[in-house]
Point group: C2
Chain length 331, copies 2
């Protein structure tokens, strides 16, 4: 599995230490590699491909829910519990609305300062950083990089669902859905079909009135769904007060144990692998197509020079697809 096998892209000699340093758990190498991924640098992709043999060990935990539900605070409290259990953790907070590196800059700083002296915690916000469409790929690569660097637990925090490319359920082993105590949030989640993807429910801000009602709503909805081997627990917690966080972590661990015993972990990972292969092929086709339409090609010239004739995107796309075989020479 030498460098260069990912369609002609290999990482630079100068980055060779990056792989070794990252595998050795070096935090700066990890941060550098994730920055390359966020910049959609082909070297990151080559690095991730190279490191595949060292991945697959981490427990991937997705935390999702509506904005304002307290996801970040819950993740922060979870990180503390995970560390108390003696395990290392990496957090990726995905914020597609931010084109900046910082993402939720302020939130991050607060969290960073709290865990700043702890090398067992690595927190990173990922924004779109101007590379629209690349966030899903960057997030996947960041997960692999954290995994290869030896983090025991990787927490991926995302806003809501509906971001097709970032479907948390196709990225993680265990999905935690954080709900607000208002029953409106529960009803909305039921309607949107989010309940189906959750392995653990957390009604956050449980000190507010309405939490128990929200819990019952979810319980009823779960009871009405077809019975599954794993019965997702519905927990009350207050992330701000750090109450009920231990049980949340134990539920996450129970789910992982269940997945291992039932063969579900293998199944999820197989499905994830399949989705990743599909995504990688689509992304590479997108890059090829971009080069074709922006380059000195018949389609590219047609797109640039055409002044008034109507061009049909469907036939142009067929033309670009027909160009593809020639690219095989690259491999």
């Amino acid at each position: 599995m030498g460098p260069g096998y990912t369609a002609g892209v290999s990482y630079d000699e100068s980055e060779m230490n990056l792989a070794g340093d990252l595998l050795a758990g070096d935090v700066r190498a990890l941060a550098r590699a994730i920055s390359l991924a966020e910049d959609r640098d082909p070297q990151a992709t080559a690095l991730v491909a190279e490191l595949q043999a060292h991945t697959g060990r981490a427990h991937l935990v997705g935390v999702t829910g509506s904005p304002g539900g307290g996801k970040s605070t819950l993740v922060d409290a979870l990180v503390r519990v995970i560390r108390e259990r003696g395990r290392t953790v990496g957090v990726i907070a995905v914020d597609p609305s931010s084109p900046f590196t910082g993402g939720a800059v302020l939130g991050d700083r607060v969290r960073m300062s709290r865990h700043t002296l702890d090398k067992g915690v690595f927190i990173r916000s990922m924004g779109a950083r101007g590379h629209l469409g690349g966030l899903a790929a960057a997030t996947r690569e960041a997960i692999h990089l954290l995994d290869a660097s030896g983090r025991d637990v990787i927490v991926v925090e995302t806003v809501g669902v509906g971001q097709s490319e970032l479907e948390i359920s196709s990225l993680c082993d265990t999905v935690v859905l954080v709900l607000m105590p208002e029953s409106g949030d529960a009803v909305q989640s039921i309607k949107a079909g989010i309940l189906e993807i959750a392995d653990v429910y957390v009604v956050n801000k449980a000190d507010l009135s309405g939490a128990e009602k929200a819990r019952r709503l979810i319980q009823d909805a779960v009871a009405m769904a077809p019975k599954k081997p794993w019965q997702p627990p519905i927990l009350l917690a207050s992330a701000v007060k750090e109450e009920g966080i231990g049980p949340v972590w134990e539920a996450i661990e129970s789910h992982r144990a269940f997945l291992r015993q039932s063969g579900g972990l293998e199944e999820r990972r197989r499905e994830r692998l399949k989705q990743e292969v599909i995504a990688l092929v689509a992304e590479s086709a997108r890059d090829d197509a971009r080069r074709a339409v922006e380059g000195d090609t018949p389609v590219g010239r047609l797109l640039r020079d055409n002044r008034n004739g109507r061009l049909n995107p469907y036939s142009l796309a067929a033309d670009v697809r027909a160009m593809r075989p020639a690219r095989g020479a690259e491999n």
Copy 2:
């Protein structure tokens, strides 16, 4: 441009009338075609490809902004103004969080009932409908279908930005950003770089305190940005009270007139065509890859039969890509 030229897919004989009826402005044919698009039925794609020569006439207006900002109400009020000006309109409300056809079902019903007797108004909510990743393609196709059916104005309403595949600025001629009167929303939009994509700003709920402050914040941010030939107006409106909606529509029309005069319309459409070609190629590669990994292929068998060996998604993706040339036979 006969049927069948889009990579072997042609629409059914029984759907032949659909094209004719849709071109004649038949509302049921339009609704049927958009349903096919939403279902990601290959016949919809073939139909859209076939109808390309009849598109390009409509004014495409994107309306975006944070949830809760009153986008739907504003669109509803705009529709009334557009109709008063004697023009026909199609509305596509994109709600990626909804896996149901209905999208914001209740909101739709309210709006439908108001415009229900008016054949000059066509409103459609698009949800993910279980086809993750297909929403962007379905939305693009729906826009083409409305365009071909002769709608003068097509309004595309989307939640916020950051949905790479659904970037409103790459779908529309004119982008309207709806802001809440709270300055927090303005600041957030400035931070997220949304201001740059807007051609018209609307501070909604202008009867609430804070609207004027929000307007000034945006004005300052716009003043600090590099000067552009088009100075985006910042308007106050109250969609609920239907106050200030006329000026919003006039600003949208002014922007269109500006684009026509400056050559910007051609430029935007060229860029849109380019992005669409890229998206079409990527989507078709995604479909091919899905068939490859799920079918009776070496990669498909490997993914299904492998029990414990670690498989590398990057080398599997390279294998799938290498399979592609064989597909050329289909064309």
